[in-house]
Symmetry: C2
Subunit: 222 residues, 2 copies
């Protein structure tokens, strides 16, 4: 893997993990594109999570055809040209996590750790978590700098994700027990989410290969 490729993967992971909101593309009944605004979290492995109301157009669209696209951005900084900012288009299928799925409570808790402002309505009967099965990522690293990435370039492998899943609660309590400042509310191989309004994302300098590396990667961030 060459350096450019590696940088593209790293940038795509950072955008995916840092974006608190996204533009969601779905298909209308006649197959046309329709773009709406959503809040965003990620599962341990990096799969996008959204909390959608059955009353919203995009949710009806997804029930008919699950194909979806999520545009995520980081601000352009000081540039006069908004197009210099990095962004990623994640393409895949958004699937509703039904009430009887074992993962539902965990995924909802993970979404709410990132979006505590949604606690007031997340329990309403018309809201449900949707999880994206990612098919690919189209990265625009700035004006004219484009890379196409596979899902496996961006997501965490199942083995590593499962190790973090098993360790997350213990890891968070250990990390929070030894640190000053606002508590960490979620951890994954790419970084941690820190409590606040809004919740703040800290990205590690590289992806952790197992939960035992998190303390060192976190200490690096100062």
């Amino acid at each position: 893997m060459d350096d450019t490729r590696f940088e593209a993967e790293d940038m795509a992971r950072r955008i995916l993990r840092s974006a608190a909101t996204a533009s969601l593309g779905t298909l209308t009944p006649d197959g046309g594109p329709f773009v709406t605004f959503v809040t965003l979290a990620t599962d341990i492995d990096g799969a996008p999570l959204v909390l959608l109301s059955d009353l919203a157009a995009h949710t009806r669209h997804l029930a008919r055809d699950g194909r979806a696209s999520l545009l995520m951005q980081v601000p352009a900084g000081d540039s006069d040209d908004p197009l210099t900012g990095a962004r990623a288009t994640v393409v895949g299928r958004l699937q509703r996590v039904s009430r009887d799925e074992a993962d539902r409570a965990r995924l909802l808790a993970r979404f709410l750790a990132r979006h505590p402002e949604a606690e007031g309505y997340a329990g309403f009967g018309d809201f449900s978590i949707h999880r994206m099965t990612v098919e690919g990522v189209h990265l625009v690293a700035g004006f004219g700098r484009i890379a196409r990435l596979a899902a496996t370039d961006v997501l965490v492998s199942p083995a590593v994700a499962n190790a973090f899943l098993a360790a997350e609660a213990l890891l968070l309590s250990a990390l929070n027990g030894s640190a000053a400042g606002p508590p960490m509310v979620a951890v994954d191989p790419d970084g941690v989410d820190v409590a606040g309004a809004p919740v703040r994302r800290l990205c590690f300098s590289r992806r952790a290969g197992h939960p035992g590396e998190v303390a060192v990667l976190l200490a690096e961030l100062g």
Copy 2:
């Protein structure tokens, strides 16, 4: 027309005229949704204008199927919940304005008045202005406040647009001749664009019915 309807129309017009960027939804070759980031201007009548490169995926998508959707937003302000911000999804067809069309120079000039940062590449052979034929607008005025609007609720009528088209150059020179501060670079029935980095939009309190009303509507803004 009831008050709620009127407020929705006014809000949709403000978002359309104020948004400097948008999320563009197009269709991939297999008919899936694909969302990308674009800079945005409007024609005199309010029709969205974008400047796209033939090298970009969205431009190839549009050449195959012109159906498109543009999500435009205003910031959520001080709220902790990003979903309290107003946004509009404009649905229609994006059509390339070819090099031999009479309107091309005018539309490009209007786009560049709003996006002077694009002057460095707007002349490259692979860039072309696309204009949207609007079919409808889906307004989300905040959490759960939704309105569906027709193109005619949001766009300026052809008669009024033509009157502004004929008067724009004269009107701008008259307004700039009598005002202190940075010059106005464009005018339409909903407001003016003021030079700066970024260009600043001033929206009138109501839509002007003819160019002669602009001076009064502008004076109201102070």
